[in-house]
Every structure is written in structure tokens, then in C-alpha cells.
Subunit: 583 residues, 2 copies
């Protein structure tokens, strides 16, 4: 194998084009095997193999600096920068992360997984170089959907007016995660169709010099162009046309499905997964029903429809009652706010990690205007995810915005009742944290009136200890009660944006300990509001949730133990408190 | 006066062009007089008089919908939509807000003051119209700097691919708040110079039909073009060239200074304001000194240099060690993160209200990468500001992000020592909440080692009651101590991102009440962390700060009383607690 001879990018520079083409095939094979074993980003990495080889051939990393956007397209880069064993040796498949990681290599500048960051970061890298009087090229590799995010667009506007070297490689695979949305992509199409010659050019309009490479999966053509722009004294865009999933037929033909795959997807004898109802399928069906009933109901998402079950069948069925804004979460929130203000019923589905992009839009466009839009927050909770995709922060982020109503359902019937209420009402911006646990059904319709805000539900009336078990952690609350072995009160708070002062006040009569359980960061979260309420009283409060920290692929059970979130640990704490305190 | 005949936009439609030109003069005169009396946005409103008249002449508000960006350029619109008495009658100068406000008029759709929101909102308005099968035009009026924000750019990308009526009026006055920055503005210049005919056209590249009006302060020309695009079945940009400050010589010649003015700026006998040292002038001088010492120190801001004292003299002096990214806060944070990662020393100055735009960039680009950038957060605190510009939310927003160090200095020497430490260290992203109170100087150099994180300072050692008085509210803490008339402990926490567990633990020995004082929203803030710490103990805690709410021009002293933030109210609460509780 050619790859056997490669340990650093320098080794690559000795290869012929023929050898590099062979190398591309070797890399592709490794990626297919590894990703099919561990799961991961298949299509993006297969598409960017030749460009990565050409970048490392022409430029001199780490003196020249590469900034990867999204950074889920960095697998070939990892293979070429001393980390090939993470792909050749199945025992080491999990050693390296799926994103750039400075702790792994001097060739990785930033730990990045959210989209649209590379151009702004590259501007900073370039400016630091200039301030320090250093030399070298700075490259940002963007594309695969990430071009449409506000941060990227702000970055391009600034990069285009820099007066020194910065090279933006736009990986145009004619796809976002799903299909492309937005006028910009029509311009990319025009540029592809005119071999880059169309006068109306988005990048030129922002001040960039511009090159087009139609054969973006050909090392030789890429090298030719990179050689030309190397050491440019001004901002340049190199627009390369690549094929997402290149070299794997099924991935080329099913680009959306093969953006990211589960382990074993390519295995011939893989058992088809049977239908299991979960909160995602439930939501999908709910929206299908609602859009049929009411022509003003509209499902909105920002570039990741697959996560929410908004598959092609769904999209075809709801037609105009669906908007994928592309990766543009800020726009999505403002868009929904206006839809709601004007009497439509938008439902914006968004992942907890990406709602982080929309604080100001939630505050100003949505909540200040009290627009009755519905936001569904998916995947919220503590997890073993990469540090770049944690979903631990949405409760502090969303709950402290005035006027927002943030709900935490604990079962199917409650969730559906909250959805019904949210879509029917005209008073409040509502976010619902879609449970991130297996579906629980009570079988009994929930007739709660959610227009009475901040009313907690006493599920089991008891004494001495009250357990406030929020959303995902409601079942944990039940277990803690059992573990305690006493007749504790079990409460489902439902609301995260306020507290039930009357109920909390009444608890004082026959309780001396209150426990709060929340599946998210404690700092700024729900439990602290309870602690504040009781802070001037004799009630003892114990808050459980995640520590304020970025964790990186730490197994969930390890995190639970770290945060003392097992039923045994919690019961132990309560017992200890009861022994030592005056309660 | 023509204006006497006008009460609704319908009345405008009966006027001749000559009468509308006269009307423009009348409106201009009212704005000059009113703004010079109350203070406010002068240049933007003088520039947009004719365009507003033309919009209301051609279109049919509120059936046709206008969405104002920034919305500080809505004064002529208010005059034309039934609110002229707010400009003609000096007794009513304060009746109407300086921004669009739905509670004032059916012609105002949204309460908006942050920039770059109009296009996304207009997309939602247009889509709601289409879903409901209604007719009518939807217009967004953007410009005056707001075009460069990520939300606007995401919005333009989406608007450009809509398949129905949406009209974006781009008010190009060749200025942001200060001068323009970014490649996009070079394209606007090219379009101005070619009378809109250049093929390389940013708006066309995003899919818009495009019209240019060179005489954007001529009602007739504007009407002619608006008539053409009215009822367009597709997205259109009308790019109008206006003169910021039009009709007031001094404002035309000093566009930046006259963007927003203080009361009396035009008065001939106005006393010149003498130099008073404050935290802004102190920061300005500090940065001037540092940039001279170290060529890698760089001041960054996002389109509002005047707020930070980054005037022309400052900019000329620091030269390349200064970047104004334009209104693009997300880019600014990522840019600074990369600068810091690569060994430069960025100092990003930003207002509390606008840091709201950067949560994800602070979390992902900055804190996840532990980049040692310095952010200076101005104007943080409770205020009588407009609901659109509150600065009450930065403590919850910033403090709960892992790895961030958020500091609250209480005097000049402490602030300078924190700045020194932040610029010298290489370990942490640091934000400093620049005191928003008159400058206090101890005269004694602060030699605290801030690398020991979360170490609170005991300023006065006492017993029974401990007062944790944060940043702006440190002096209030002193007053509360005096009011209590006991030997209370006075603590300056300095850090908002963590707690001094050892100190808090030790307080238990001879204190039974802890008071926290913070100049910001209580929910998710500093005090709740203290309440959580003591929640399982006998310590009683009282948290003081702002309620979670949007307030709108409520006088500061009224807010202080509402939140029980006067020294008398606090002392009363403590006394009451001591009497009723077992302490």
C-alpha cells in the first residue's frame, strides 16, 4: 500500500499523481470499512479525499494552516497527518474523534463540530499571522451545507475585504445534509454550469478572487489550481465541485441517507429495523395530522430533516407546509416568530446543541414579541456525545429568557397534550423539550390546562421528602422514591421557565427535604430556581444534574456516577443529610 | 402645513409630488427639533424620509406589511401612521418609543431594535400570507449597517429563493453606524457607481430581481420604482442610495457622530463637556498603551466603535491593531478565538445587549477551544432602556458556559489588574463586565493573582450577615452594611463563573444570613449559585437582582424599588428574616 509509506504530510509530497490516485482509493476503502463498522460521516469524507490529498501536497501544514468547517469531513486529513492507525487498525477505531482535535495533532487547529465557523476562524488565524509578521497560507475548507449559516456569511463578508492571504476552499457537492435550500445554491449551480465563468458570482460580489475546479475529485486538477493560488496576497475562493459519497455507489445514489450512517449499514445481511414508536415518530405523525387539519400549520427545520423524521415521504405529503431553511437556525427562529405573529402555526424542530445559535433570536424576535410559535428541542440531556455536540445546555439557555414557556413532558400523552395546547394558544412562545428517552405511555389522555403557567403536578402525594423530577428524569424520580423506601412526594414540574410558588410553599408544612432532578447543566438551570425559592427557609434542597463542563465521549453511565445521578447515590445523599442536619 | 392634513397613510395618497416634497421638509424639521430635544437617532431618520413617504404612497399599509430593520429609522413612519403628535407636541415627545412597537399602531408589526432581523421576519410574514391564501406585498427595509449581520444574510439567502412576493428595500447610505466594513460594501459601491448595472451583484447572486434607485432622497424616483415592483410575484431587492443625515449639513458632514445624538447637540451655546475619567476612557487609554507595547494586541468591535471610545484618533493611532468587523458579532467572537489561539491578544469590546448574538460562538469557537481571548462587556446592568436594548441578561448568558472566566471588577485598580492578567495569561477565555457606574478609584494598586480562579475577596470581615456584592453593586453592598448597622462581612466576589467553596463553607461558622447582590437577571445568575451551595445547610440566603422580564423605558429607581434593591428594603428583609427564622 502507498499509505504504508506515509506518516506525515511531507511524505505525500514525494508521490506522483498516479500514486496519489492510488492513495485516494486506499483512503476511500479504509473510510468505508471503518465508518461501516463504527458509524459516522460517510458521504462527506468520501467526497473530500482528493481535495485533502491535494491540499496537503501543495501546502505545507502545519506552517500553512488548515481550518476545517463542520470538521466531520476531516477523516482523510486525519489519515494523512499521522493518525492512519485509527482507520487501519480496528482496535484503534475509537482512538481519534470524528472531528478536528488539537490535542491529537498539530495539524488540527480547532475543536469544532458546529457548522459555519471556518471562515471567521481562518480570518483570525490570518490576522494573527500578519500581526506577528509571519508568513504562510491560511485555508478554510467549507461546504457540505455549512455555507448558509450566519457565522459563515459574516465571515465571508469580512474575509473578502482582508488585504492579505486567505484561501477559502468551497466544497460544493450540491448537497447540504439534505438537499440545498436558498438562493446562494442556485448561484453555485450557475457557476458549475458555466465552468465558473458566470459574471454574477456570489463570492466575487464579496470581494474574493475566484477559481473554479469542475473536477473536484481529481488530484491533478486540484493541485494545478492550488498551486496557482498558493501564497496569494489577497482573499481567494477556490470553488470545487465534488461528489458526495464519491466511490461508493450506494452513497452516491442516496446522498442524504449516507451523510451519516449507523454501524453495519452496508452489511448485506443486516436485519431491517422494525418500527418502534418513539417520540420522533410520534411527532412526525402528529405534524402530518395537524397539517392536514389546518393549512396554516407549518413544519420548519434548519438543514437536518432526517433527525426529526422529516423524510421525503413526509416532505412530499406536507408540501408547502414545510420549510427547510438550510443551516440557518437564526433565520428559522425569526421566520417562525413572524409566521406565528401573522396567524400561522409554525413548529420548529431543532436539536438542543444547535438551538445555541439562536439565543438572540429567541429573545428579541420571538419572546420580546410574544409570538406564539412552537419550538421542539430534540436530544436535550446528558450524553456520551462528542464535546462539539453536547446537548446539556438548553435548559439554562432557554429557560431564563422572559416570556418563554419551556415545557418538559414525561410521557406520550403529556407530550401530545402540550403540543395541542401550544398550537392552539396565541399568548406565548413555547418550547417543548422532546423526551430523549424511550417512549412511555400512560394510556390515559392528559387533560391538563397548560395555559395555567408554572403549575407543577403532584403525581404521588407523600411527606418528608419531595422529589421534583423533570422531563427525562421523571422515571429516575420514581426510582429514587423506591430506593428511599419512604412515602416521598413525587412531583412532575412540567414547566422549566418558572416555579409553582404555591405548591412549593405548601410543601413546607410536611416536608423537610426537596430533591430536584434535571437532565442538563445545573448552573443556571431548573434546580437553582428551587434552591433560590427555599434559600431563606428551613427547607433543605439537593440539586442534581450535570456539572458545568465540556465532556468528550465520556460514557453515559460514567457521567451519571460522576454527577451522583444514580438512585443509590441520591438516596445515600438524602439519608446523610437527614442524619447530619436538624431535619 | 401639509402634515396637518395627514392622519393615516391613506391621506398621503391624495398628495401631489410637490406636496410630498414639501411634506418631506416638514417631517425633517420635526425630527431635527425633536431629536435635538430628547436625543435619539438623527442621521438614519433624516436619510429615510423620502423612502418612507414613497413606501406609504405606493403601498397600502397595514394590508401591505412593512418590516423595519434596526427600527431606529422608523421616525418618519411613525409620523405618517397616526403618531405625529409625538413629534409636533413637545409634551408628547416621550409618548412613543424610538422603535417600531405593535402596541402603538397596527402599522408596526414587530418590537425590534437589534439589527439584521427584518428579512427573516419578512419571510415569515410572506409565508403566513401564502399559507392563509391572502394577498398583499411584504416589504423589509434594511440597511444602515444591518445588512452584514448573520441573521440578515441567512434571511437574504432564504428570501432570494422564495416563490412569491417579498420586497427588500436596501437603504444604502454608504455608512454603517461608523464607516462600512466588509466585501459586500464594495459591491454596493460598485453598484452605485454603475447605476446598478454591474453584472457582479450580491443580491442577484442570491436569486433576487434587482432595481437601483440612485436618487433615494427623491420621492418621485422612489415612487416610480416602487410602482414597478409592487405586486411582484417573486423576490425583489430595491437598492436605494440615500444620504445619511440628509438635509442637516452638520449631520451630513459628520455621519458617524450624528448617527445618534445627545439632547442639545445642535444648540449653539452648548457647554462643551469637560473630560471626566470613566471606565470607557480608561479602557481606551489602556488599549492604546498596550498596542504600543505589544504588536499582537488588537482591539476588535462589531460596528459600534463610538460606544467604546474607538474614535478616529484611536483608530488612526492603532492602525492594523484594530478591526471593526461591522455588525457581525458572531464573526467577531470566532475571529478573536482564532487570534488568541494563534498567539495574538485580541480584546473584543461589545455591549451586553449584543453579546446575546454570540452564545454559540462563545461556547464552541471560544470556550470549547479554551482560547485566551479577552471580551469586554459594556453597559451590563439594570437600566431604564428600551425593551429592545436591555442589558440585564449577560450574567446568565455568559456565566454558565464551561471554561469561561467572567469577571466583575468593582473599581479602577481592580479593572486594570484584571485586564493585565487577562492579556498576560494563556489558559482561559476571559470576559470582563466593564463597570457601568461612575469610576471608583482606591488609589492602591491591585496585586491580586486572578489565575487562582473563583477566589472571592473579603473586603470587611464581620459576622452574622455576609454581603456578596457583585461588580456594579459593590457600593450598594457597602450601603446595605451601613443600613444594617451591624458588623456584617462584605465580600467582593470578583468571579461570576464560579464560587469560592472554601470561603462559603467557612462563613457557616459565624454567619447565618448571606445576601447576594447582582446587577442583572436573577434567574440563571450569580446569586442562584450561592443559593444552591447553601441549599442543604442551615444558612439563609437572600438573592437580589432583576426579575425575569422585559421592561420598557421604566425609570431605574422604579425598577430598583420593584426588585427591592434599595438599601432600606434589603435591610428590612434581613431584619424580618432574622426575626421570623430560627437564626
Amino acid at each position: 500500500m502507498i499509505l504504508d509509506r506515509l506518516n506525515t504530510p511531507d511524505d505525500l509530497k514525494k508521490l506522483s499523481f498516479e500514486e496519489m490516485n492510488t492513495l485516494a482509493g486506499e483512503i476511500r476503502e479504509l473510510i468505508i470499512k471503518k465508518v461501516n463498522t463504527t458509524g459516522g460521516h460517510m458521504g462527506p469524507n468520501l467526497g473530500i479525499v482528493e481535495a485533502t490529498i491535494a491540499m496537503h501536497y501543495v501546502f505545507n501544514s502545519p506552517v500553512d494552516k488548515f481550518v476545517f468547517d463542520v470538521s466531520h469531513q476531516c477523516y482523510p486529513h486525519k489519515i494523512l497527518t499521522g493518525r492512519k492507525e485509527g482507520f487501519t487498525n480496528s482496535d484503534k477505531y475509537h482512538v481519534y474523534t470524528g472531528y478536528t482535535a488539537p490535542e491529537e495533532s498539530e495539524h488540527d487547529l480547532f475543536k469544532i463540530g458546529h457548522t459555519s465557523t471556518s471562515v471567521s476562524l481562518a480570518c483570525g488565524v490570518a490576522k494573527a499571522r500578519d500581526l506577528k509578521g509571519e508568513k504562510g497560507n491560511v485555508l478554510a475548507l467549507i461546504g457540505d451545507g455549512s455555507l448558509s449559516g450566519g457565522e459563515a456569511l459574516e465571515g465571508l463578508n469580512n474575509a473578502g475585504s482582508m488585504d492579505s492571504n486567505i484561501i477559502i476552499v468551497v466544497n460544493d457537492n450540491d448537497m447540504s445534509i439534505a438537499e440545498n435550500h436558498g438562493g446562494l445554491y442556485d448561484n453555485l449551480k450557475l457557476l458549475r454550469e458555466t465552468d465558473g465563468k458566470a459574471e454574477c458570482n456570489f463570492f466575487k460580489s464579496l470581494g474574493f478572487d475566484y477559481c473554479y475546479v469542475n473536477e473536484g475529485n481529481c488530484v491533478e486538477k486540484l493541485v494545478e489550481t492550488f498551486e496557482k493560488v498558493k501564497d496569494a496576497s489577497h482573499p481567494v475562493v477556490v470553488h470545487i465541485r465534488t461528489v458526495k459519497g464519491c466511490g461508493l455507489d450506494v452513497a452516491e445514489q442516496n446522498k442524504e441517507a449516507f451523510h451519516w450512517i449507523l454501524p453495519g449499514t452496508l452489511d448485506e445481511n443486516k436485519e431491517p429495523v422494525g418500527f418502534v414508536e418513539d417520540y420522533t415518530s410520534l411527532t412526525r405523525q402528529y405534524i402530518l395530522d395537524k397539517t392536514k387539519e389546518d393549512k396554516t400549520v407549518i413544519a420548519v427545520n434548519a438543514g437536518t430533516p432526517g433527525v426529526f423524521g422529516f423524510d421525503k415521504e413526509f416532505r412530499n405529503t406536507v408540501g408547502k407546509q414545510y420549510t427547510d431553511v438550510g443551516i440557518a437556525e437564526e433565520h428559522a427562529v425569526a421566520y417562525c416568530s413572524a409566521l406565528a405573529t401573522c396567524g400561522a402555526k409554525p413548529v420548529f424542530a431543532v436539536m438542543s446543541s444547535f438551538i445555541q445559535r439562536t439565543y438572540d433570536q429567541m429573545s428579541q424576535d420571538l419572546c420580546l414579541n410574544n409570538s406564539p410559535a412552537t419550538m421542539l428541542v430534540y436530544w436535550g440531556g446528558i450524553s456520551g456525545a462528542d464535546a462539539t455536540h453536547l446537548c446539556t445546555f438548553d435548559i439554562p439557555l432557554v429557560s431564563n429568557i422572559p416570556n418563554m414557556v419551556y415545557l418538559a413532558p414525561t410521557n406520550k400523552e403529556e407530550y401530545l397534550a402540550m403540543l395541542d395546547w401550544s398550537l392552539a394558544q396565541n399568548e406565548h412562545p413555547v418550547a417543548i423539550r422532546v423526551p430523549n428517552v424511550p417512549l412511555v405511555s400512560t394510556g390515559i389522555e392528559d387533560d391538563t390546562d397548560y395555559s395555567i403557567l408554572n403549575k407543577f403536578k403532584v403525581v404521588e402525594n407523600g411527606e418528608k421528602v419531595a422529589i421534583l423530577a423533570l422531563g427525562n428524569f421523571f422515571e429516575l424520580g420514581r426510582q429514587v422514591k423506591k430506593e428511599l423506601g419512604i412515602n416521598a412526594t413525587l412531583i412532575n414540574p412540567c414547566f422549566m421557565t418558572g416555579i409553582d410558588e404555591e405548591l412549593l410553599e405548601n410543601l413546607k408544612a410536611n416536608h423537610d427535604v426537596v430533591i430536584t432532578l434535571e437532565d442538563g447543566e445545573l448552573d443556571g438551570g431548573f434546580g437553582e430556581k428551587i434552591s433560590r425559592f427555599y434559600a431563606n427557609s428551613d427547607m433543605k434542597v439537593l440539586n442534581y444534574g450535570a456539572k458545568k463542563e465540556f465532556t468528550d465521549r465520556v460514557p453515559l453511565d460514567e457521567l451519571y456516577r460522576r454527577y451522583r445521578l444514580t438512585k443509590e447515590q441520591i438516596a445515600e445523599d438524602v439519608m446523610k443529610l437527614k442524619q447530619t442536619a436538624t431535619v
